[in-house]
Subunit: 220 residues, 2 copies
DNA sequence: TAGATTGTTAATCGATTAACAATC
DNA sequence: TAGATTGTTAATCGATTAACAATC
């Protein structure tokens, strides 16, 4: 179904959080960071931090710590976020607009260069500085713009159709915020985002809490 | 740090996806579902599905399948989504507005009953039918409304302050979309949502794909 | 040298997968 | 009965945690 087996998924999911923290530190002029500080920030054990950082290939200095700048570069390189990739977004509703307005993506090597929608009310307007095109033109423009990544923010009922257009337009990676599983060719990757998943985890934690147990991280 | 150790996290994260699919099926008049169909929908192996459904305590009928209605109720009950809980949301920016506008939450037992913001431009306005109050009134109103859950959609720099107000207002569960780790008392639960985590996974999948490996799910 | 921290190796734990008997 | 599917038990695999030597 167009996907790739990936290991160390929990670590990978945490990398953007490290990246954010490290960037803040660099801005503040800090050049060295040691595990205990990151552990506190991440709400995780020190060993977890060291194992996480290890995947990037960076090696720290015993008794001292890691170079902030080196870590930032290594994480970006590991995620291939150093050469910023371009994406198109389909569905300029509330979620789509929120993503278009999120400035943090630049830091994550993502540039959303165009938006698409099916509604005549939206086509031709600008959302956070990006023109909204007719979704009919998605394949054509994706191909012309040489975009490799597509973000789907349309209602579930239209997601497959949008995915088809993306594939036809040469898109090879889809970030899917719609609540459906997509059928795509084997050489196309789909990452589905289910925000409600986090809510489910929170709900279970609440229930458990009321029942008694203790201790874990905020990420999970 | 105010948290609970939870097992079977991957399963829990998937439950909302099952719930969505099952609700669709019920709407379509389907009353029985078997593993193979769900496996196809979820892009997962059949055994995973059966193990997942097992946590809800529902028992299927060999050779036949599970009762859709029974599954829906069991999942909702497992997540405690049957008695819908109320929440307040802070930060009526683009992400906050998107969440306020998301109708799917009702299905997930969540009702956002009020919104808060610090900006005079927003205070007093309505966003998707909810009045935006001054964040100064957060503690007071949360207490009066007897709300147990808070959703944070403010910039990282203000998140801790908002969390403090929530705690002061009697909120015991925080869904945190800001890019910081929050300090809260031990009896408060925080679930941090890092959308960029999904982007990281997608990036790594892309890189691996270019390198060659194969096969996995869309959820991950 | 003493203190701190890294990074490796081993042990534990949980999640995923496989095999298969039980059931409709 | 035959075919399909469930659910249990065991095997494999990977992730988390612990212990500790190596290094600055």
């Amino acid at each position: 179904m167009g996907n790739v087996k990936v290991q160390k998924l929990p670590t990978i999911r945490r990398l953007p959080t490290y990246l954010y923290k490290l960037s803040e530190m660099r801005k503040a002029g800090v050049s060295i960071v040691a595990t205990p500080e990151l552990a506190r920030y991440m709400n995780l054990g020190e060993i977890v931090i060291r194992k996480d950082l290890a995947v990037t290939g960076v090696t720290g200095q015993p008794g001292v710590g890691y170079k902030v700048k080196e870590l930032i570069e290594a994480i970006k390189s590991y995620l291939n976020w150093d050469n910023s990739s371009e994406a198109v977004l389909v569905g300029a509703g509330s979620l789509g607009s929120a993503l278009l307005g999120y400035e943090g993506f630049e830091e994550y090597g993502l540039r959303i260069i165009a938006a698409f929608d099916a509604s005549p009310d939206k086509i031709g307007t600008e959302v956070h500085g990006r023109t909204v095109f007719d979704v009919e033109r998605l394949s054509e423009l994706a191909r012309r713009l040489q975009v490799r990544m597509g973000i789907i923010c349309v209602p579930a009922a239209h997601a497959q159709e949008v995915a088809d257009r993306m594939v036809a337009g040469g898109i090879r990676a889809i970030w899917n915020f719609a609540n459906v599983s997509l059928s795509v060719p084997d050489d196309v990757i789909v990452q589905r985002e289910v925000i409600a998943g986090g809510l489910a985890v929170l709900s279970v934690k609440m229930n458990r809490k009321l029942a008694g147990e203790e201790d874990a991280g905020q990420l999970g």
